[in-house]
Amino acid sequence: MIKLENLSKNFGSLKAVDNITLQIPDGQICGYLGPNGAGKTTTVKLLTTMLKPDAGKAWINGFDIITQSFEVKKSIGYVPESGKLYKSLTPYEYLMFTGSLYNVEQEILEKRINEFAKFFGFENQIHTRMISFSKGEKQRVVITSALIHNPSVLFLDEPLSGLDATTVLKFKELLRDMANKGKTIFYCSHILEVVEKLCDRVVIIDKGRIIGDGSVNELENMTKQSSLEDVFRQLTDAGDVGSAVAALSKSINNQGN
């Protein structure tokens, strides 16, 4: 379970996360949407203990993110937006390393690495250094490293970045299965279609504040819109997208090369 109470974080005069209160029960996939710079990644960084809040509190599985950060870290898995990993290592070395940080027993770790490699289709590259990997290939390893210790709470920040269609389908099914088994999933994304289909609940934030919270149907009813895209456009005040596109296109074409 994830619980936030008046959580805030400022960067100078910028209120990146502004007084957010939220509770996500076990077994729920919660989509966390917002435009660029809305505060999505900052929220995740606060909940994964990488940043310290300026005000408010938050708990992961009942552990306080400030005073019990070590326990919090033990119970979460995180796929960061940056997708960084040590590219000089092979997937096997990297996953053995990250698994060791969670004190997963070597035998179990090896078994899980092989199972994930087979599931995500990188079993043939498991002993190849990741320096030559494509973004999608690296992302599969990043996702595996977030799941290898079987965490009860998952934070996913744009996890589908670079993945091919088959892997996306498999991963979405895996997430659904994990949620059915009681795991809590906090899913940050810009891709509205995925959030619409995958998430039980959608939280929309803008300028650090929650501006919408509910299931896709509830949000559509609340805003009297027919799709999550329209809901998002209305709530985040995206303006007249069509006119903006037309103006830019006209300008580019007039300038030539």
Partner: protein
Amino acid sequence: MPDSSKLFGIDRQQFVALLKLHLKLDFRPRSAPQNTKKRLIPQALLPFVVYGWFGFFLALSLLTKGASTQVYAFFVISYTMVMVFFAVLHEFDIILINPDDMEIIGYRPVHSKTFSAAKLANFVIYISLLSASLTFLPGAIAFFLNESTVIYPFLLFFSASVSSLVTGFFVVILYTLLLQRISAVKLKEFITYMQVGFTLVIFLVYQLIPRIDPRVLQSGFNDVSLWFLLAPSVWFTGFTEIFSKNPDLFIIYASFAGVIASIIVIFTGGMKFSAAGAGYLSEKLKESESVSVKPGTVSQKTGFGKSSETKAGYFLTMLMIKRDRSVKAGILSLSAIVAASALMSYFDGTMTDPFIKESGTGFSYAFMFSIFIVFAFINFIQYSTDWEGAWVFKISPMRNPGKLYRGANAVILSRVLVPVYLVVFAVYLLRIRFFHAFLQIVVMFVFGVLSLCLGLFLVKDFPFSKKRVRGQRSRSLGMIFYTVPVLILYVVSGKFIYRGGLYYILSVCVLILLSFAVEYFAVRRLGQVIDKSEDF
């Protein structure tokens, strides 16, 4: 999740995993996706071979001067301490703070004690290797000193190792304290200029040793004042004398100071290795990324070439020389060597007018280093802290990516080499008449251009496209070996150049034509090599 066994709060399993990781990251080459074992040894050893080479020359020079064991130990330990100081200070952000660590490990359940212990162990291994490479050959040569005993070389090796560790940890304390008080941007600028200063000092010390009166080197510390104790290398020199038959009070003071300093510095430095500390410093170092600059500080206009590749190479190199600390530091330090060597040649009278018969050959350290720095520059500009941005070259519609280096060379020539040559020219004027000094500086310029073109044959990647790795700066010192063919050509062509008149003009013209030809083929070859590069 099972709990692993712990010792002093350090998780054994995590410690092993972290240490293995750090060692792999240190010693594994970034290229060669598969079958890494074959390239593991050269990658790890090359910088240490370079350090060993310099240590060897220092020791040999002291041995031939008949230095006493005290003076020998003093110089070797001083050299070791300065080089370690230099290496750790300059590569601090690679050695101690890997910004990736926080993004990959920051949210995982690793206690700061475990993280610190692994970092500490990794640091000690790095310093030990560095120290061993610096002192192994001087230690071996120490057997041949007149006053040497069987135990002396081992004591020297031990003292130098301890002094290296103390120096390494001292840098950690210094850097961390400074970073807490001043902005990362200012600190990096400060370090850049400090590095230039250190390069000059090291170079001058190298030049001074052969010029010291042998009697001074043989006398030891007998007549020096107690103020000498303030030099940290004296403290560790004391260790090497402690088992001698009649250690004097001076030596005992020195060794005592060394022991106390070692304990304080290693303990305080060790405390700085915490995960939280690394995270804080990492964030501080990232500050430099968000600094805004005034627009239009570098003009895109250039008269060098008309191709868009050449212009792009020129523009990028100009920006990097101004903004990338690693590029700036490397280029300024190397330029300082040339200026220092010119001054040295002036003071010791080896700078002579090659156009006057029986006067000299024109060959000087300034000339030799001016060729070396050209090769080193070419090597430097392949690396950058912004290396990841180089993907843009790969997708740009370039007919010949090798032409990027034509622009880069234009920057090196106009913005770096010409100012350096002007300094050398000013020094030449102190001993050589104006016209001859001018002719000589033209020769130096032509050989600089030729070396720039030849240097392109050593390039394999786009400019600023490779990540700086530990020891890369030391490896660039190895570029000195590539100067040999150019210097041979200089000695041979000198037979014609310095005959004066028509011979001079013809020789210079031939060398310019040769440069054009070399550049043409180098750029063509570079275009093919870079096109084949898949390292993205």
